[in-house]
């Protein structure tokens, strides 16, 4: 195991464990009170649709269908990048979503409408940081 911890596999079960951590969090309902969006978490070729209501995750699903009618924004990165991001102490350049997305590093892409991404950045950052507790 490296200084930064071990890698993890990302499947729907892992996403569910993360979503349950999110929903147990007592800060997110406050800082995410107005976070009501549907975003895609892309891990390699797999897309998980995450539906957020009031800062909590109301629904997760694997793969997109026509019935989803799209999404607001998508965060896509290789599983190797998510594995680094979700370590207890993430390594430099992988410790933050904007660090990974920044044009200097390009480890993660933000697609779709970026307005709700920036509008909810504080809550989203906390939400994703809870991956370190899964």
């Amino acid at each position: 195991m490296s200084r930064y911890g071990s890698r993890k596999g990302f499947d729907l079960e892992w996403i569910e464990r993360w979503a349950r951590c999110v929903n147990e969090d007592r800060i997110l309902p406050v800082i995410g009170r107005f976070f009501n969006n549907r975003f895609v978490l892309g891990v390699d070729e797999t897309e998980f649709l995450i539906e957020v209501r009031g800062g909590k995750i109301a629904r997760i699903s694997e793969g997109l269908t026509p019935n989803d009618l799209g999404f607001d924004f998508a965060l896509r990165a290789p599983s190797t990048a998510w594995a680094k991001f979700s370590q207890q102490i993430p390594p430099p350049m992988f410790n933050d979503i904007w660090a990974m997305a920044h044009p200097l590093h390009k480890q993660l892409t933000i697609d779709g409408n970026q307005l709700p991404f920036w509008q909810n950045m504080r809550a989203l950052t906390r939400m994703l940081s809870l991956m370190r507790q899964v």
């Binding site: 430099p92 933050d96 979503i97 200097l104 509008q119 950052t125």
Partner: protein, 312 residues
């Protein structure tokens, strides 16, 4: 009994490019004047720990000012009539630093700046080397692109929260939570569009890649960069320093806001630099309290000559 920090604050009037700015500054200590430059969108509070450290303030008169538009320094009186958004330029930033030092009658001060305050050190070395005795450029490089972007000043986005969260990941996850969130708070308090406007300097107007080789080397320059800095990575600092004559580089296991995100670690990293500056000062050598020497180099990685690395 009441407890006070030794820091005192005052306002000085500084004229720069045709306008006079009521400028807030804080200071403490005696000895070599050291003027501290805050990062984009924030203010001089980022240096509060160094200003309360007797080992530093017995050797240095530490002064931290708030740039116009920042902290307690107000914008120019006619700011509401401006026909362009706020943008910090290299020429204004450099001239303002020099004008501030002259307004306080400082004799060849040391400049310590971080982030944009680090990058401007390159301009100071190029244009004003006679004005200063040493430059400490924290988290600095000759080109730091990618930050002058609309989301950082947009009416549909909460500027304070978005700006502060956008920089949060620049800090080391191992820096104390208390101080990382205090740094977040400084950012959340910036005026609308000021962080973004500063980043016009940081990402657009301060491309020194074709200039830094002209720095003479007569003015000592110390580069210090934390490994979690994703805006100015250790490699970006090292690439810059290789072109700057007479510079020294220290890479340490911190982030982009070393003075405020982890003051204890920063003290370990900066003390040998400050000690060297005191030793090189003929007038003040040995006057103040002894500064700690280099940290025991356990696990230190060896680098080429003149490049020092501290693993903390």
């Amino acid at each position: 009994m009441n407890q006070h920090d030794p820091i005192v604050g005052r306002y000085v009037y500084v004229t720069c490019q045709g306008k006079t700015y009521r400028t807030y500054y804080e200071e403490t200590g005696e000895g070599i004047p050291m003027v501290c430059l805050h990062t984009a969108g924030t203010d001089g509070r980022q240096y509060r720990h160094q200003m309360c450290d007797p080992e530093i303030t017995s050797n240095f008169r530490v002064i931290a000012f708030d740039m116009p538009w920042h902290g307690k320094s107000i914008p120019p009186a006619d700011f509401y009539l401006m026909e362009d958004e706020y943008k910090l330029t290299t020429s204004f930033y450099g001239e303002f630093i020099v004008a501030f030092c002259r307004a306080l009658d400082l004799k060849k001060p040391v400049i310590m700046g971080q982030s944009m305050g680090g990058n401007i050190c390159l301009h100071l070395a190029l244009k004003y080397e006679q004005e200063f005795s040493a430059l400490i450029a924290l988290e600095a490089c000759d080109h730091s692109p990618g930050w002058w972007i609309y989301p950082l000043h947009h009416p549909h986005i909460h500027g304070g929260e978005a700006v502060a969260t956008a920089v949060f990941g620049l800090m080391s996850p191992e820096s104390p939570d208390e101080y990382r969130w205090e740094t977040w708070w400084y950012y959340a308090q910036g005026g609308p569009g000021i962080f973004k406007g500063d980043l016009y300097f940081y990402s657009v107007d301060s491309d020194f890649r074709d200039q830094v080789h002209k720095i003479s080397g007569r003015l000592p320059i110390y580069f210090l960069t934390g490994e979690y800095d994703f805006a100015c990575t250790p490699e970006m600092t090292e690439r810059t320093a290789e072109k700057v004559k007479g510079s020294e580089t220290i890479i340490f296991s911190g982030g982009h806001f070393p003075t405020s995100e982890d003051p204890a670690k920063f003290k370990d990293v900066i003390s040998p630099v400050l000690k060297k500056i005191v030793q090189n000062d003929p007038d003040r050598r040995g006057a103040g309290r002894a500064l700690p020497g280099p940290v025991a180099a356990s696990g230190a990685v060896s680098r080429p000559a003149a490049r020092r690395v501290i693993e903390l």
